[in-house]
């Protein structure tokens, strides 16, 4: 079997209660900056609280609502439950 391939998905493809690590944040510079200020930056572990538009995320114990537009996208790498527990 091939080495572990990391699955990168848009943030809104997460399921409720699933945790993921943010891998890439694409978008216009000012917005990316604003997202980073609010904690949505590469490496942050987030959990999806509620799906839909906008979605609800748990980020470092805070709740953020987020809706992307066509120029903005956040890619995340889902963390399996075991990994999330050990980290």
């Amino acid at each position: 079997m091939p080495a572990v391939v990391h699955e990168l998905i848009p943030i809104d493809m997460l399921r409720v209660n699933e945790s993921a690590r943010i891998a890439e944040v694409h978008g216009p510079q000012p917005l990316v900056q604003r997202l980073e200020e609010l904690g949505l930056r590469e490496g942050t572990v987030i959990r999806l609280v509620k799906t839909g538009e906008p979605l609800l995320l748990a980020v470092n114990g805070h709740r953020l609502s987020f809706r992307a537009d066509s120029s903005t996208m956040i890619f995340v790498e889902p963390i399996s439950v075991e990994q999330a527990r050990s980290s």
Binding site: M1, E7, M13, R15, N17, S65, R67, T72
Partner: protein, 738 residues
Amino acid sequence: MSVTDPTSTATRPLTVALIGNPNTGKSTLFNALTGGKARIGNFPGVTVEKKTGKFQHDGRDVLLVDLPGTYSLAPRSADEMVSVDVLLGRQQEIGKPDAVVCIVDASNLERNLYLFSQIRDLRIPVVLVLNMWDIAQSRGIQIDLDQLRERTQAVIVTTSAAKRVGIEDVRTAIIAATGAEAFTPVKLFPESFYREADSLGEWLTEQGLGEVPFYLRERMLLDVHGETEHRVSLKANDDLSHYLKEARARLASEGCRIPLVETKARYDWIRTLLDGVIERTSPEEQQTGSDRIDRILTHRVWGLLFFALLMFVVFQAIYTWAGPFMEMVEWLQQLITDAVQAVIAPGTLRSLVVDGIIAGVGSVVIFLPQIVLLFLFIAIMEDCGYMARAAFLMDKLMTRIGLSGKSFLPLMSSFACAIPGVMATRVIENRRDRMVTMLIAPLMSCSARLPVYLLMVAAFIPGTTWLGGWIGLQGMVLFGMQAMGALVAIPVAWLLKKTLFPGETPPFVMELPPYKWPSVRIVFQRVYDQAKAFLVRAGTLIFCVTVLIWAAGYFPADHTRLHANQAEQEQVEATLAEEETSERLEELEAEARILSANAIRESFLGRAGMVVEPAVKPLGWDWRIGVGAIASFPAREVIIATMGTIFSLGGDVDEEDASLMQTLRTATWPDGTPLFTIPVALSIMVFFALCAQCGATLMVIRRETNSWRWPIFTFVYMTLLAYLGALVVYQVGTRLMT
């Protein structure tokens, strides 16, 4: 296009590739299909295991090739390139597959379909196997298979491979698919991308690099430093890299950004594909206290219902709770009037104090209780964390008119006052959005409109109640008036977004603070600040306008006879015992009414009123209301004061009850018919709901936009709307009433 030649298929074994995301049960399905007998080898030159197996179905031999589990067909290495080569028939040892089986985890369709979407672009017949069907079912995930089949145009089977359920269906589907037409892939990317892929093909042929299949050309463009690019570059030189770099730059300039465009286009396709196809009945959740509250308060149905109900209760409460406080203010006002009348003899000074200052300023101050209540509710909602939830909920609705939830807070604070509302639009990063929000903020029903509604509602709307007094018609009309500005703002915002500020709906990020009990100190501070600002305005601006209006309504008419009349009235009254009346007194009162009506008609105000009357007559207004409305353009709450002054000067005051409400009820046209009817009251309210009668707001808009253009625009559009709205309400209302 037919993939296989019908004459030869009877004898030739079919080649079928099996592909899927890791952990979808691919090995399990492979074993189930082939009976566990696999030949294991290696693909030449790479470390990838080559696993093939055979089975027979319907008299056909099938060679099944297992491909490595992968999330995507975007080869980044030679190992990953193997799957693409096999699927495109470029793997000599295997030959072109007649069909491909794409296995996905049915309980995780959204993500697994990404690979399926890439396989579609290969133009090979596909069997889509929804494995883990048992798990999907036990989790309450319902998938509308017929709908999915229709939308994907693919052969779809469901299996529970571990339980050997549905395996035979897969075999049948494979045979069926190999004979079927391969579907033409839908074009997911922008047209410019396909043009670029075509020119790349021409360029490659020119360079003598031969025909490169369409899918590989797509991959060259999409995968920066990907394996496809790498492999062709080996044969050519750096030219290809340069060419691709330029091609990607061209695409980016047309808004097609690589590599973002692929993921976005494919997931967008999946989203539309699955919209209404999947239903999850029992999402597993484990949540904190705030989350539990949020589950209801941010629910798209319950949350909105709660919000609407809350607003309704707030406005009902403002109406009912403020009553006793208002009576207190009224009583105080009467007390002062009596005191002044006892001290000052009838004359110009008394008129200034009683008709001008007390009637004017007093009629505004009386609404302090309501305004305090409104600010109290807003402060509590903000401090306990609910306001952010409301913005979250509203985002869904706001996106329909091209705005985001970001606009909600400025608009909600505009319900108290548009000035902080306009300033609060600074939090909106997107300029177009900010402009639209700023231009509709003055439409929100600010607290200065409240007095107008309250007065009109109390005086002219019947006090019918239902449900044991919990719901009243007056409260409902009040709620309706409060909601009207917001409702009218919807089409206005939509139009502005379509015409003057076109652009996409901006993204939305906002923190939802945890719920907490509102802090008494913070809430008190905010209410106190706002109440103080209201009283200061009443004491300064409104006071000045009131005095001006009084002067304009008092001069230049001759008041000597009127003052003599008033003095005599008081003398007669003094000689009479309580409850007693005399003919002389009644005569005097009648004369006074005529005298004061004449006096105000001759005044500057009266003359100006005659000029305005034709314009306001279609709204059901007489010149007094017209003058009042015009005088209140600097600040709308002035209307109460000016009406108080005008009607008081005009002698329409009832001696027993000096309140403006009573005065208005008895006001008549010159021919004696009542001036105010329900349509007139409604027309006044609608006018005030929509009109830009606030100099301060317009000044703030000018400061925030740094241009006169926008305040002027706001003033013009709102005033036009107000006039038309009032016209329609009065005209339609009168027709309905008769």
